[in-house]
């Protein structure tokens, strides 16, 4: 029972981290129709910027400044890169962001090297807030959970309750009309791209100390972010939230379970063979759920695409 509660908390933490990444990505997609392959690279930039800043000014300044820097970089990329490529259609855009992801990784390696960075959480949050059983819950994780919830509420408020949000939503469906009404639609796009990448930056700043700051961090998280928005439905903020939490709990519970596929085989009345190397099912006999935990989201994505191509909350086809 203790383990279930602790897994719920851990899954919530991981799910909300995914949400911070996928919310920006899904926002950008819904606005501009651009699948930003470099999204996780902005997450990595957030972590590295924050690390560099925290060396001189401490963690909190990093948390404040690094996402802004990432947002500025994102806005510049939109203004001088994507906007030019946009006229040639979606495939060049896709290739552009893909190339950008590779470029950012190489730039990070060039400046910071291949090694892990010793990016640490702030001293005042370096303690166990409470324990369930013997398992400690670090204060930093609780802080992260609250930060991402606050970001979600803020985003939702801006998008649905403010004038800017109304214009953004209108530009989403009728860009020409909004432009005719006197709004600067390219500027809105640039702003959305900047905010979306800044969100990824926040995720990087917060996750860097926990999940490690290294040049592969974008690659590790990149694919799962796409899985999240496909499951949630492309362009849906609520979908991104639900899918993130779903994946967070799915991977957490899968990793902490001790389920073994041998029990399924045994329930079919099969006997574990004496010598496994002769059995054509030898992999199934030794496979456990934690071993395949990290690929479960991909299986879920395939199932969603087969049975509900719009995703859980999406309105348009993938």
């Amino acid at each position: 029972m203790d383990l279930v509660i602790i897994n719920l908390i851990d899954g919530l933490f991981y799910g909300l981290l995914l949400f911070m990444l996928s919310s920006g990505l899904t926002l950008i997609f819904s606005m501009m129709g651009v699948l930003n392959f470099a999204h996780a690279s902005f997450y990595m930039l957030g972590a590295y910027f924050a690390y560099q800043i925290s060396m001189y000014l401490g963690f909190w300044m990093g948390l404040l400044v690094a996402p802004l820097l990432v947002g500025v970089v994102g806005a510049l990329v939109e203004r001088y890169g994507l906007r030019r490529v946009h006229q040639y259609g979606h495939v060049p855009e896709l290739i552009f962001t893909f190339g950008l992801a590779l470029l950012i990784e190489e730039v990070v390696k060039f400046f910071w090297g291949n090694n892990l960075m010793a990016y640490q959480e702030p001293e005042i949050l370096k303690f166990a807030l409470f324990s369930i059983g013997n398992n400690a819950v670090p204060a930093y994780k609780v802080f992260m959970i609250f930060t991402s919830v606050a970001i979600f509420i803020g985003l939702l408020y801006i998008l649905t309750r403010t004038r800017i949000g109304m214009i953004i939503q209108a530009a989403l469906s009728y860009p020409r009309t909004v432009e005719a009404l006197g709004h600067n639609v390219p500027l809105i796009f640039m702003g959305v791209f900047g905010v979306g990448t800044a969100l990824a930056g926040v995720a990087g700043v917060l996750a860097g100390p926990v999940l490690g700051t290294f040049p592969g961090m974008a690659f590790v998280l990149g694919s799962i972010v796409f899985v999240t928005i496909v499951i949630g439905g492309l362009g849906s903020l609520w979908g991104a939230l639900v899918a993130s939490l779903l994946l967070g709990w799915l991977t957490t519970f899968a990793a902490s379970s001790s389920f073994s596929f041998a029990t399924i085989l045994e329930s079919f009345g099969m006997q574990r063979p004496e010598s496994l190397s002769d059995s054509y099912l030898r992999d199934l006999w030794t496979l456990t759920l934690p071993q395949i935990g990290p690929i479960l989201p991909y299986i879920l994505m395939v199932l969603i695409l087969v049975f509900r191509p719009h995703g859980l909350f999406g309105k348009r086809d993938v």
Binding site: F13, L116, A128, N135, V210, T252, G293
Partner: protein, 256 residues
């Protein structure tokens, strides 16, 4: 592993061990060897967990760490490296685990620095070279000269120096560098000083390098530090000429 399990068996505080590693040949080999050696040396040690995780695919190691803490393990053995090592180690320590974590690769390349204070007394590493204390003043001088020349690097692969030294000796002894068979024969059974001021011997029967193996602990306030941090590795247990007594099944055919 022989040396590592020797030190675990001698530690009275350890009765439950958890094995976790990356799902590929080395991770499996570590788990298998740990199971075999612990079982043979001290049957009362219980292996409370033995699992593999996908290599380089785990984003958050917390769920694995929860299982380790809940299993009541006193020590963890892992063959992880790189970000999988740091992710696992940090998650285990943050989850409230207080025992030692025995590793092969949890030092240098930013890892020591990243663990920092949290790793002191917890991160243990088994390896063939110890610098705190070091074997001789020459070793100290060598390491200091290296660090002065390459301030951003540690001597993390000194076994390469051993290889070159032994090869050079063998070539001198054989008197030729182009005829490889006499060189190989000279290497067979060679015993010489190794990089750390100890002895290294290439066992003639199976060509395994036999030398002192150390279990080292992350500590602070040491002479030789890693990653330009305040932390380094301090020798906890020394196993002299490790595995020299291990039988071999090698039946290699040698060229004439």
């Amino acid at each position: 592993m022989d040396a590592l399990t020797d030190s675990i068996v001698q530690n009275e505080d350890i009765s439950k061990v958890y094995l976790i590693g990356q799902d590929y040949s080395f991770g499996k080999a570590v788990a298998e060897a740990a199971q075999r050696d612990l079982g043979a040396k001290k049957a009362s040690i219980e292996i409370v967990g033995n699992e593999l995780h996908p290599i380089g695919k785990v984003k958050d190691f917390t769920p694995y760490a929860r299982k380790i803490v809940s299993s009541g393990a006193d020590a963890v053995i892992t063959g992880n490296w790189g970000s999988d090592m740091v992710g696992l180690g940090k998650a285990i320590i943050e989850a409230g685990f207080t025992g030692p974590i025995y590793t092969y690769y949890a030092a240098s390349n930013g890892i020591t620095r990243t663990f920092g204070e949290a790793g002191v007394g917890k991160i243990n590493l088994v390896g063939e070279g110890a610098l705190n204390p070091s074997g001789s003043p020459e070793v100290d001088a060598y390491v200091e000269a290296f660090e002065a020349k390459y301030p951003d690097h540690d001597i993390s692969q000194p076994r390469i120096a051993n290889v070159v030294r032994m090869l050079a000796l063998a070539i001198e002894e054989a008197g030729t560098a182009t005829d490889v068979i006499p060189v190989a024969k000279a290497l067979e059974g060679m015993e010489t000083d190794n990089f750390w001021g100890g002895k290294i011997k290439m066992r003639a029967e199976d060509h395994q390098a036999i030398q002192d193996v150390y279990v080292m602990e992350q500590a602070t306030g040491l002479k030789h530090l890693l990653d330009n941090s305040n932390f380094g590795l301090e020798t906890a247990v020394k196993v002299e000429m490790a595995s020299a007594d291990m039988p071999t099944t090698c039946e290699m055919e040698r060229p004439e």
